[in-house]
């Protein structure tokens, strides 16, 4: 590969026994992965746990890692896998909870699977109205569309890189991205054409 990949070099140093290279990788990628996890999940609640799992997988891959793809692409691939697992696990848990209400009431030891789209109490990140609207639109997308669009538009990966990160063909990736973009555009259109945030259910703004 002609392109220099300093992250891959760090991983190779880590492979050679340099633990400080691992810490440096975590430092370099933490912001990107925590932010992506936050956007994939639609809430900040588990974003750091998810990112930590991604970094632990990188650690475990120490023996087997080979610099075949760009290091960042490989990290994105791991993040996508961990995120899809978590998102789907939550979905099933919601179905199970709906089907089998617990008789023993609250359980402090159980993991709290908050509904996607519900803002956790500590979630003060989203102040901007439009960002909130966009977040709801993203949460409404099927998870693969959401992940694809975030990799491409939010993270700035090319179609090719997005396909690699999602382990999908280029044409399937294009199709996902197109569907996501059309939905986002349609839902944002009122804002984009009037300059106002899309109308939300608020009776006070209605004129009668």
């Amino acid at each position: 590969m002609p392109d220099a990949d300093p992250d891959a070099d760090l991983m190779l140093r880590f492979q050679g026994g340099d633990e400080t290279a691992y810490a440096e990788l975590v430092r370099r990628f933490q912001g990107r992965i925590v932010s992506l996890a936050y956007r994939y999940l639609g809430s900040s609640a588990d974003a750091e746990d998810l990112a930590q799992e991604v970094f632990l997988r990188i650690y475990r891959a120490r023996e087997t890692y080979e610099p075949r793809a760009r290091f960042s692409t490989w990290v994105h691939r791991i993040t996508v896998n961990v995120s899809l697992n978590l998102i789907r696990g939550r979905k099933v848990r919601r179905h199970l909870n709906a089907a089998m209400p617990r008789s023993d009431g609250g359980d402090g030891g159980a993991v709290d699977f908050e509904d996607a789209g519900v803002v956790a109490p500590g979630d003060k990140v989203e102040k901007d109205e439009l960002a909130q609207v966009l977040r709801e639109i993203l949460d409404g997308l099927p998870e693969r569309q959401r992940i694809a669009i975030l990799l491409n538009k939010y993270q700035g990966l090319s179609y090719e890189e997005t396909a690699e990160a999602m382990e999908m063909s280029l044409s399937a990736t294009k199709s996902l991205l197109t569907r996501a973009r059309v939905k986002i555009k349609e839902q944002l259109e009122p804002y984009l054409t009037t300059g106002r945030a899309p109308e939300r259910r608020d009776s006070s703004t209605r004129d009668s």
Partner: protein, 173 residues
Amino acid sequence: MTMNEHCERPIDELVAYTDGELQAPAHGALEAHLDVCARCAREVDLLRRSGALVAELPGLTPSAGFVDRVVAATADVRRPRGRLLRLLPAAAAAVLIVGLVLARAMRDDRPSDEVALSRAEEREIAQDLFLLENLDALADEDPEALIAIIEDLDLIESVEPEAFGIFDGEEGG
């Protein structure tokens, strides 16, 4: 400029154009088209602006000490854990029950300085078994859905933060 109401430019071409992913001959042809088709030009404008908003979404700053916590957590991942849950055959509920119990046993097969099953974990086993005993209630679902349910049971296990160790690094390399 005339509005072309019957324009049939494929939308994926417009999307690829706004993303700078449209290759040479198609790119020039579309640019020429946009000069004469207000409808497509408007679509491109909306796609571009809505896409830009996704790019500008605020991120999330990791909390202080995140790197240190990750590095500290690596001490726990040197010990491989069983991937039994992943190997469960996807069909028979009976095998599943045995598998889940075995998986619990595997998870319990850890150094004595770690806790054995907590009450919460025991409760979870009970929930799992209850679900499995009622699997025939799900029997009218198609096989794929059943497999999905089983896989998702595995996932439910794996998403407990303290059980993250059962993820295996299968994407190595």
